[in-house]
């Protein structure tokens, strides 16, 4: 074996190990996206269980807002379906609907002083507002993970490995973040 073969061999070892590092890095990025989505899911599930209680409390007072309450129930099930299907595009649309309906609800409450004074309602409103803000925060982390993944698979030399092993660009979670309540956020750390 001559010096040229030796150098070629050494360079090949580096290239091979580098390819493994890139592959593992892409797997890590994909897992980061999955983890970030799972972190949003936890909060969506929590809100899913809180919403019927909110609607139930409001029903007793808001006799003229049946359509609004129906819209919240509908948006709730749309979010649930999209979440279970892992359909990011639909989840974004459903989440926008949900936030707009909730925003409308909390604005309408102003016309119902008795409901506004109901402790149960106030507690639910505060909890849901906190959850909404945390969901918005975690969406940022999710989208950051997606951006890192999508950038990586377009960069050389990562794109060679990405194309060979079918790593694909992932969808961003987009929804309009409507401010619900200026509530002091206590953390929910799962």
């Amino acid at each position: 074996m001559g010096i040229t073969e030796f150098i070629t061999g050494a360079v090949l070892i580096i290239v091979f190990c580098y390819a493994i590092t890139i592959y593992n890095g892409l797997i890590r990025l994909k897992n980061n996206v999955d983890k970030a989505f799972a972190n949003i899911e936890v909060l969506l599930k929590q809100r899913h269980t809180e919403l019927p209680q909110l609607v139930e409390v409001c029903k007793g007072y808001m006799t003229h807002e049946k359509e609004l309450l129906l819209a919240i129930t509908k948006a709730r099930s749309l979010v649930q379906d999209a979440r279970e299907e892992h359909n990011i595009l639909r989840l974004g649309q459903a989440e926008t609907e949900m936030r707009e309906s909730l925003h409308q609800l909390f604005v309408s409450v102003e016309a119902y002083p008795e409901l506004k004074a109901n402790e149960n309602f106030l507690a639910l409103q505060a909890r849901i507002s906190v959850l909404e803000d945390l969901i918005a925060d975690r969406r940022e982390t999710f989208n950051e993970s997606v951006r890192l993944n999508n950038t990586r698979i377009q960069q050389f030399p990562d794109l060679v490995i990405a194309r060979s092993f079918n790593f694909i660009a992932l969808e961003y979670l987009r929804f309009r973040a409507v401010g619900l309540l200026p509530v002091a956020i206590g953390s929910i750390h799962d």
Partner: protein, 297 residues
């Protein structure tokens, strides 16, 4: 250049030749994994999304924020007496012994004192605060002072209050006691107080006035302190939460606290990896040449 290296190698005496071969081979062996270590860590830094403290999930995370001392009580760096949240201090003495004798005009710097702050400090990203346990962390501080005094030299690195820091580590949230537990503790403390003050105990709970507290009276005292404790602890009591950043469970993940930004750190790691690969190739080729020279393979 190559000719000079070859001539130097050929003319080495056998002992030095073998020693050089072993060193070169070991460097070759170490530099390859070192190169990948730097690449991997650089990539982990780049690939980990920045989380907000208030909504961060438990596990390996990245935070960016300002360094804050706990309870607004900054530490005092031992060398410069500057207020800071973390420091690493080292005093070295120049000693002339053996090979480093005064005749060689060069002393060896021996560490005579060193102290690294073990105290936690906060990172505050505007959404919350998280305590950082600096014990096992690789800390990269920006403020560094070096000075000499006689045959001593001192090196001190610090993270100062309000400085921007970048952290990677394991995020954990510790819950404070539940409402029930607080009530139980408060009731127990009240009972202990009563036990110490026998006069008050008898006055309040000695129903049959026999100067003794029997079992029924003791149970009444327990219930009363419990009711009192329930009144004292708010209905909307929320257990406190303490966020801490500690060493990751997986040793593959780095634990870094740095005053240098993510980009600066990753470029540094990239440079280290290029250096390591260059060392791998150079020492590999050199070891190969030495083997050919010695054994003619």
């Amino acid at each position: 250049m190559i000719d000079a290296v070859l001539t130097f190698t050929i003319n080495l005496d056998p002992d030095k030749f073998m020693a050089l071969l072993v060193v070169s081979f070991l460097l070759c062996l170490i530099s390859l994994p070192a190169g990948f270590y730097f690449i991997r860590h650089g990539r982990i830094m780049q690939d980990t999304p920045t989380s907000k403290i208030r909504s961060a999930s438990q596990g390996f995370v990245e935070f960016k924020g300002r360094a804050r001392s706990i309870d607004d009580k900054p530490l005092r760096a031992p060398g410069t007496k500057t207020d800071c949240v973390w420091y690493d201090y080292k005093a070295e003495q120049q000693q002339y012994k053996g090979w480093f004798s005064p005749g060689n005009h060069r002393g060896k710097w021996i560490t005579v004192a060193e102290h690294r702050s073990p105290f936690s400090f906060y990172i505050d990203d505007g959404t919350g605060v998280c305590a950082i346990d600096p014990d096992a962390a690789t800390v990269k501080a920006k403020f560094t002072n070096k000075w000499k005094q006689g045959n001593y030299r001192y090196i001190e690195s610090r993270i100062e209050e309000g400085e921007m820091i970048y952290c990677l580590g394991q995020f954990e949230t510790h819950q404070g006691p539940s409402r029930q537990k607080v009530i139980k503790e408060t009731a127990r403390a009240s009972l202990n107080q009563l036990k110490k003050n026998r006069k008050a105990l008898l006055q309040r709970f000695d129903a049959n006035s026999d100067g003794e507290i029997d079992l029924d009276e003791w149970n009444t005292a327990r219930s009363a302190t419990r009711v009192q404790a329930e009144k004292e602890v708010d209905d909307d009591y929320v257990p406190t939460q303490h966020h801490v950043l500690v060493e990751p469970f997986s040793k593959k993940n780095p634990y870094i606290v740095s005053c240098f930004g993510e980009d600066e750190l990753t470029s540094r790691y990239r440079l280290y990896s290029v250096g390591s690969f260059a060392t791998f190739l150079t020492t590999g080729v050199y070891s190969f040449i030495m083997v050919v020279i010695r054994w003619g393979i």
